[in-house]
Amino acid sequence: MTDVNSRIETEIQSQDVVVFMKGTPQFPMCGFSGQVAQILNYLGVPFKGVNVLEDMEIREGIKAYSQWPTIPQVYVKGEFVGGCDITREMFQSGELQQLLSEKGIATSTAAA
């Protein structure tokens, strides 16, 4: 099991914002993954999509890694932020924008 965790670690550290999702940023294959991609695109935040549909080992491994049973999963600077609900809630309350700026990640719109 360790090598899937090290593969996950590599993915998580590979970019500021990483989303384990179903499908790709351009073609999300699930409504919830699509919502997360939409929010990040709206904020102009570049992110790396890891398509769990193409990698069953990561699809299951990520759930154990983060103790979170569903996909999508959002990571900012290596830290698990949440799934679709939490990301949307944080976006609506402005917490997401605050977290991103605290981590030195620029967002294009000054979305309040």
Binding site: F32, K63, Q67, W68, P69, T70, I71, F80, V81, G82, G83, C84, D85, I86, E89, M90
Partner: protein, 78 residues
């Protein structure tokens, strides 16, 4: 075998006896629900931790028989 709203509510209550639980069936297919759970046990916990507590109450069904559970959690108003 999708889940029934009452079953979800019962499981959450079993783990969080003081919780007020409100379940909405989003798609009528037993697979897509929204739930609002308010419990004093969430006090001081981050959103991620609160949701993990609810997922824990569902004993592994989340992501399995239960495909989607849009969660809103909170602490009772003082």
């Amino acid at each position: 075998m999708p889940m029934d709203a009452r079953e979800i509510e019962a499981m959450i209550r079993q783990a969080l006896p003081d919780a007020t639980v409100e379940i909405r069936d989003l798609a009528g297919d037993g697979d897509h629900y929204a739930a609002t759970v308010v419990s004093a046990a969430f006090k001081g916990k981050s959103r991620v931790q609160q949701h993990q507590m609810v997922y824990g109450a569902l004993q592994g069904r989340m992501g399995g028989v239960l495909h989607a559970l849009a969660l809103t959690t909170g602490v009772p108003q003082e």
